[in-house]
Every structure is written in structure tokens, then in C-alpha cells.
């Protein structure tokens, strides 16, 4: 059997024996579907006042209305767009920046390595939420700035991960062999080292989607992320916290963060089990 076919069979087997992975995929696919199609079937406008304020859940407003009288369910469903967009942008940018820095540091070593890794150390020495707050506050409120703030906090993790992996791979004989074959540094890095160094980054990135959703929501919660009236989950929970006895106001976005975070974590966990040979 060819390698590709074996891999495909293996993938199906993995699905069958990993209910958590299936559940995670279902959740994430559901939210992605919502994010892409909500405009077509939303019965209310998320920004318009559609009824009495702070109505309890009912048949016409499944999750009630918020302090201004907007439908919580529809706002929650719209909210996934912000969370997904932020998490994708943040993770992709963090992986790109972090992996580049880590790969360069690990590959070239010496003073380049020292300088880059000290920057990483310094960044990681701050509590992440605090640093993100400081960056977001200095850039001014707004979802875009919140995303930048989270990237600033997040990339060093990938830099360390990639550096460690590159250091491991670079010491293998076949890298030396490729060098002895006349390969340039760039070629060694892109063709021989990086393809063998991605696995931990992929696993970590999948897990981090959930974390980033949470951190971005936290920034919005304290007013540094998405601004009213945007239906962003963190901002909505913040509204809900002010209306403590109308539990449904925070319930919708809370469940949104919970399920999306859980979905990403399930997938990440399963990926780690499948991809990391040390776990077997």
C-alpha cells in the first residue's frame, strides 16, 4: 500500500476511535458555518433594538434580550466572526513571526541566537494578559489593536518551540550530508530543516486558537478590544456582568467562548496524540 493510502486509512481509524476529535471538529465546523452564513438566515439585526430590554429567554428571543433590548442569541452568533477572525489572524501571524525568529536563531546560533532569544525571554517574562493590556492600551482601544497586542504576547512561544525543534533537527546527520552536497543555508533551512520541524508548532497552534479566543475576549471585556455596539463576546459578557441578575445576557457569549475553546482544544489534543510519536 502506498504511504498516502496508509495515511488515509490511519486518519479514518483515528476518527473512529477519537470521539473527542469528532466532537471538536463538529463544534468548530458549526461555528465556522455560522460565521460564514449568518447574514443569510439571521432573523434579527444584531445591532438593532428588537424588543423590551432584559427580557428573559422566550420563544421569540431564545436567549432573551440585553440591556438595550437587542437579541442575545443573534448577537452571540454574530460574535463568532470576531473571535474566529481574531484567533486566525493572531495564530497565523504569531506562528509566522515566531517560527521565523526561532528558525533563524536556532539555525545561525551565536550572537544572533542570543539576541533573539533574550528578546523572547523578556517578552515571556511578563504575565501575558498584563502585557497585552499594556500594548492594547498604548495602541488605543479597538479589535485590530487588541489582535496586535495578542500577537505581541504570543509569538515568543512559537519562537522557542521552533528554535528547539530546529536545534534538534540541525544536529542530525542528513543535514550535514545535505551541507556536504553543497546546499546553501537557505536551502538547508527551507528544504531539510523546516519540513521536519513543523509538528510541535501545528499542535501548539491548534491548541492556541482556543486560548487566543479567550485572551482577545478578555481584552474586549476590560474595554480594550472591540467597542460597542459590536457584538463581540468579551464585550457582551462585560455588559452581562453589569446586569448580573439577567444571567442570559452573559450566558450566550459565555457559551460561545466555552464551546469554541473546547472545540479547538479537543482537536489540538487529538492532533498531538496522532502526530507526536513520543506519546505512543
Amino acid at each position: 500500500m502506498s504511504v498516502a493510502a496508509t495515511a488515509r486509512t490511519q486518519f479514518m481509524t483515528n476518527l473512529r476511535f477519537r470521539p473527542a476529535l469528532v466532537l471538536g471538529l463538529l463544534i468548530v465546523v458549526f461555528w465556522v458555518f455560522v460565521a460564514l452564513t449568518i447574514d443569510l438566515w439571521a432573523v434579527y439585526d444584531p445591532l438593532k433594538i428588537v424588543g423590551r430590554k432584559l427580557q428573559a429567554p422566550s420563544l421569540s428571543h431564545w436567549l432573551g434580550t440585553d440591556a438595550l433590548g437587542r437579541d442575545v442569541l443573534i448577537r452571540t452568533l454574530y460574535g463568532v466572526r470576531y473571535s474566529l477572525a481574531v484567533s486566525v489572524v493572531v495564530v497565523v501571524c504569531s506562528v509566522a513571526i515566531g517560527s521565523l525568529v526561532g528558525a533563524v536563531a536556532g539555525f545561525f546560533g551565536g550572537w544572533i541566537d542570543s539576541v533573539l532569544m533574550r528578546i523572547v525571554d523578556i517578552t515571556l517574562a511578563f504575565p501575558p494578559v498584563l502585557l497585552a493590556m499594556a500594548v492594547a492600551a498604548s495602541l488605543g482601544p479597538g479589535l485590530q489593536n487588541a489582535a496586535i497586542a495578542v500577537i505581541v504576547v504570543w509569538w515568543p512561544v512559537y519562537a522557542r518551540l521552533m528554535r528547539g525543534q530546529v536545534l534538534d533537527v540541525i544536529s542530525r546527520d542528513h543535514i550535514e550530508a545535505a551541507r556536504a552536497g553543497g546546499a546553501s543555508s537557505w536551502r538547508l533551512l527551507t528544504k531539510h530543516i523546516l519540513p521536519l520541524s513543523w509538528t510541535p508548532t501545528i499542535i501548539s497552534a491548534t491548541m492556541d486558537f482556543g486560548q487566543v479566543v479567550l485572551l482577545a475576549a478578555s481584552l474586549s471585556f476590560i474595554g480594550l478590544g472591540a467597542q460597542p455596539p459590536a457584538p463581540e463576546w468579551g464585550a457582551m459578557i462585560s455588559d452581562g456582568a453589569a446586569q448580573f441578575y439577567s444571567w442570559w445576557v452573559a450566558f450566550g457569549p459565555g457559551m460561545g467562548i466555552l464551546t469554541l475553546g473546547l472545540g479547538f482544544n479537543f482537536i489540538g489534543d487529538a492532533l498531538r496524540d496522532i502526530l507526536d510519536p513520543r506519546e505512543h
Binding site: V3, G109, R172, D173, H174, E176, A177, A178, R179, A180, G181, G182, A183, S184, R187, K191, H192, P195, L196
Partner: protein, 336 residues
């Protein structure tokens, strides 16, 4: 070959680590196209480092001095760009362990085709692939078309080493350096690999440098032999002269470690002790603490390489060894 430029000529090569320890201390040799040069020595004798220096790949931070000339072109101090162009095209390198020296995530055919295209950027991929299959055929891999599509883990040890060799000779190098090419293989496969290497030397008329600690490998394959110890050449000469008429107690010690095939049940005689630490080499002759012939002068004075009979040797008492020339049944058995 007087008058012509030798294929590879190394003069007074020294490799110094960043901490000041000299690992290769003034090595001289030359080799010609179509010849096999065997470099023998224990671990840490500097034989591999010497070859890394020739490739322009010394250990990180190490300083190389002296002269390395390939076709008369000086390689010490040559630009990285120039060395990159030479590596893999004019000089090929084979590693000890083909298990780890081949990229596990690329098919063997692609690996070889990449090696070809690296030095022929204009060549279309299909042609490079064709060449890869030819190369696999050249190193006697059966069913090369099938094998080219497989990954390294689908190859056996001997097949892997063949693939490694195919990669190293992909661009018809003038010189092929094999660093312990058979050490990781079992004995029957060793012989096949050596045959492949010798066959290639003839077909491609290249110079072959065989680094090994196995005198049996050298006896069966090499034309010339260099024996290294503690970063220096202890003895060098034609393979027959070294095996039959060694003028150095270290070489003699190595030869007595060889088992014989003639059935004599004499004990193998190991050389007592172990090679000196790089950082704490003894005064005088580096071999004297382990040498059965060591005398006062050996402790005080480091012998220089000098011609004695047909070999070059670095021993104060080389002439005394001439008297013992008679019985070397072990070596003779190996050569037969």
C-alpha cells in the same frame, strides 16, 4: 606523477578548536585520480576532522590553517560560495551511518535528483529524475525505478548506503571521501559496499579517500595508507609496505589486533591504554605512554615524519622494527 598537479594535496594542515586545542597538527598528504587513499586511526585521531576541513566544514568555531589544494586551487580561506559550489560537485562525501544521513521525509529518487539539480540548476526535473535512476543503477540497487519512489525507511542498511553513495557521486566528483562507510553495516554488506566504491572509482576515475578504523577494509581496498594518531601522521606509505614492513610500533599494534584467518589460535594483542586526551597530550612522542618500545628520548622529543625504507614514519626507533619484519602472519592473511 612528478610535474603535474596532484588531484588533492594537503600541506601542513592544522585545525584548532576555539579553546586552543589543536586537533589536527600538521598533516601532509596527496592523492591522485583513480587511487584509493586509506586513512586509519582510532577515534579522536583527527582523521574525520581532517576530511571535514577538506570539505570546508570544520567543527563550529574551529580554525583551519595550512594548505589544501584541489587541482591546484587553494581551498583554505576560499569563500563559502566557492566551497558550496565544490561540495557535492567536485568533492563528494559519504557518511558513516546511512540510517541518519538521508532525509527521512523525501523519497530516495527525489533526494538524488535534488543533489543533481543543485549543481545543474537548468536541468528539468524529469531529466534529473532519470539521472537519479541511472545513479541507483550504477550503485547496483535492484529495480531502481521502484526504489526511487520509496522512502529511506523502506531501504535496508546496505541499500541505504548505496543510495548515499549515489547521492555523493551524483555530479561525477573528482574526489570521493568516505567517512567510515562500512562501519554501520554487517560484514557481508561491507564487502559489497567496498566493491561498489571501487567500481565507481574505476568508472568515474575519481580519487577515493577511505577513512576507517578497520585495517581489513584498508588492506582490501587502498593503494596508499596513512596512519593517524593524536592529530598527526604516524606512518604513511603503500598499503603493502605498511602491512608487511611497518616501521612504527603503533601500526604494528593495530596489526596485532587483527584476527587471523589461518587458524592460528594466538591471542589478539590489544594496545594497552587509550588515546591521549586532546587537552593533555603527553610530551614527546604522543604514543610513548602506550608504546612497548618507549625510551627516554620518546618522552622528551617528538619524532618527525621521515623516510625509512619504503615508508614515511614518525618513530625514533623505526630501524629497530626492520629486524622484526619477518613474522606478520595476521597482516599477510588479510592481504591474501
Amino acid at each position: 606523477m612528478a610535474g603535474t598537479t596532484p588531484l588533492l594535496e594537503v600541506r601542513d594542515l592544522r585545525v584548532t578548536f576555539r579553546n586552543g586545542v589543536e586537533i589536527v597538527r600538521g598533516v601532509n598528504f596527496r592523492t591522485e585520480a583513480g587511487k584509493v587513499l586509506g586513512i586509519v586511526g582510532e577515534s579522536g585521531s583527527g582523521k574525520s576532522i581532517t576530511m571535514r576541513a577538506v570539505m570546508g566544514l570544520p567543527p563550529a568555531g574551529a580554525k583551519v590553517s595550512g594548505s589544501i589544494r584541489l587541482h591546484g586551487e587553494e581551498l583554505v580561506g576560499a569563500s563559502e560560495r566557492r566551497m558550496r559550489a565544490l561540495r557535492g560537485s567536485k568533492i563528494g562525501l559519504i557518511f558513516q551511518d546511512p540510517m541518519t544521513a538521508l532525509n527521512p521525509v523525501i523519497t530516495v529518487g527525489k533526494l538524488i535528483a535534488e543533489a543533481v539539480r543543485l549543481h545543474n540548476p537548468g536541468m528539468p526535473a524529469s531529466k534529473a529524475w532519470q539521472r537519479a535512476i541511472e545513479l541507483l543503477e550504477l550503485v547496483a540497487v535492484p529495480q531502481p525505478e521502484v526504489r526511487a519512489n520509496q522512502y529511506v525507511h523502506e531501504f535496508s542498511g546496505g541499500m541505504r548506503q548505496r543510495a548515499m553513495i549515489a547521492m555523493a557521486v551524483a555530479n561525477n566528483p573528482d574526489i570521493l571521501i568516505a567517512d567510515e562507510p562500512t562501519t554501520a553495516l554487517d560484514v557481508t554488506v561491507q564487502a559489497q559496499i567496498l566493491d561498489v566504491l571501487k567500481g565507481l572509482r574505476d568508472k568515474l576515475s575519481m580519487g577515493l579517500i577511505l577513512i576507517t578504523h578497520d585495517l581489513g577494509v584498508v588492506a582490501g581496498s587502498a593503494d596508499d595508507v596513512i596512519v593517524m594518531y593524536a592529530g598527526k601522521i604516524m606512518e604513511s606509505g603503500k598499503v603493502r609496505d605498511i602491512f608487511y614492513h611497518t616501521r612504527h610500533p603503533y601500526t604494528r599494534g593495530l596489526l596485532s589486533c587483527l584476527p587471523t584467518i589461518t587458524g592460528a589460535t594466538s591471542r589478539l594483542e590489544p594496545i594497552p591504554g587509550s588515546p591521549p586526551l586532546l587537552s593533555a597530550r603527553p610530551q614527546g612522542c604522543p604514543f610513548h605512554p602506550r608504546c612497548p618500545m618507549a625510551r627516554e628520548v620518546c618522552r622528551a622529543e617528538e619524532p618527525v615524519l621521515r623516510p625509512v625504507d619504503n615508508v614515511l614514519t614518525a618513530c625514533h626507533f623505526a630501524e629497530e622494527l626492520r629486524a622484526e619484519d619477518s613474522g606478520r602472519p595476521n597482516a599477510r592473511a588479510e592481504l591474501a
